[in-house]
Symmetry: C2
Subunit: 235 residues, 2 copies
DNA sequence: CAGTGGTCTAGACCACTGA
DNA sequence: CAGTGGTCTAGACCACTGA
């Protein structure tokens, strides 16, 4: 367990911040002071301070110095669940039941669909993720066949389109919106819930570069599912 | 707009990955090859590659080289909103109305409360975040007075406890659970919604080290609020 | 065991900016 | 305008590990 020096410097400064010994707005020693304290080259302390900057723990200003950053609430890491994994972790059997599958042109009235389709057409899929044969989540998905031509022949027997895509198509950007909705009549039927039950809706769009790959809306019964986001120190 | 060289190297490699020219598992040039290509010192390419590693775009292995990482689904960055900021960004006036405030001992039947309180007592707060005077979110909060003694005298006139804590107490770890719930009778009254309306509930716990600071549950009308999580290349 | 990345040195010049 | 951080050089020794 011989740690690198820059990592030791980083963790000692970090400890001072997290313990409260250094509070938001407080000034850290300058690079040159740290060089003297740790008897090392400037690149070494620079690396430690750069890491703290990347983590958001400090902010650096020329001429002024390095300062403990104001704590940020904004960004936490959200674990987007892999449903198969989630269900099997509960000791239940996972299944995906395909309800509808259709190749069609994008609707001219939907800018979203036009943009996703590009010059090609769309694969529209509806299906249910099941746990021990009972509906767990319902999803409506559109996939750009221009972006994923290999998909036209895929059957999706037991494997969900999301899992298939994940293993075949690299994506670079994604966005997820999370809202609460009351179950419509058709959704209530799909999920075997009373009409109006509060459900969590995840709407996710995925791109590779500027080309859209897929967009999906998934619905979960609010009481059977929750999302967790975490923020904590690395390591 | 004179960019640094390491940033140019980083962005050129990043472009190759995001365009698909380099796919998951592909090997990148070695540091020494990049030194020759860009005619620079090894520290410079090292910095570019370190940044790509930190972003999760590549993985590096000794003796083997640097490789494009497999795309990750799991973690996306969730923007936990600052409600005041959110509301003011809509051009509305923000307000926090304190409904209840009470100092009490933790309930012996709640392990959560016992752990949060530690050796001290709890400040229990209920209040409503308002936009233009109309209820926007309702929150129930517990704060550990052992962790935040300065709080006992705070009045919370117009400023929400969350905003106050954020500026006075550095936290190091946080966890947020997101679920959908139907509005109970009392919640419906608080938010001025019909009974049973689907609402988004955020439950957040915050720690400094192993000491709990606060836990809060916030409720939003599902139709008036959504959370967004993103993953994409920095910059 | 040879080639890769990880770390570190002891300098240097520069851009920026707040005392 | 002096002090800070940002960047970069041209080396060096080492740890690791897969061909």
């Amino acid at each position: 367990m011989t740690r690198s020096l820059h990592d030791r410097i980083r963790s000692e400064l970090e400890a001072a911040i997290l313990s409260g010994a250094l509070g938001p707005g407080d000034r850290l020693p300058t690079e040159r002071e740290l060089m003297a304290r740790y008897d090392c080259a400037r690149m070494t302390v620079s690396k430690a301070l750069s890491t703290l900057t990347a983590t958001g723990l400090i902010e650096r200003r020329r001429r002024a110095g390095s300062f403990v950053a104001q704590p940020r609430v904004h960004s936490m890491v959200l674990d987007i669940p892999d449903l198969r994994h989630e269900i099997e972790a509960r000791g239940q059997r996972y299944g995906f039941a395909l309800i509808r599958r259709e190749t069609r042109l994008p609707s001219g009235s939907s800018a979203d669909e036009m943009q996703l389709a590009g010059t090609g057409s769309l694969l529209a899929i509806e299906g249910t993720h099941c746990a021990d044969g009972r509906p767990f989540a319902f999803e409506e998905r559109l996939i750009s066949l221009a972006a994923v031509p290999a998909l036209a022949e895929e059957e999706f027997r037991g494997v969900s389109p999301g899992a298939w895509l994940l293993h075949h198509v690299p994506w670079t950007e994604a966005e997820t919106r999370i809202v609460a909705v009351g179950a419509s009549e058709s959704l209530a039927k799909r999920l075997d819930l009373p009409f109006g039950t509060a459900c969590l809706s995840l709407e996710r769009r995925t791109w590779r570069g500027s080309a859209g790959i897929t967009q999906v809306r998934q619905y979960f019964a609010g009481s059977t599912f929750d999302l967790v986001a975490r923020f904590g120190p690395a390591g």
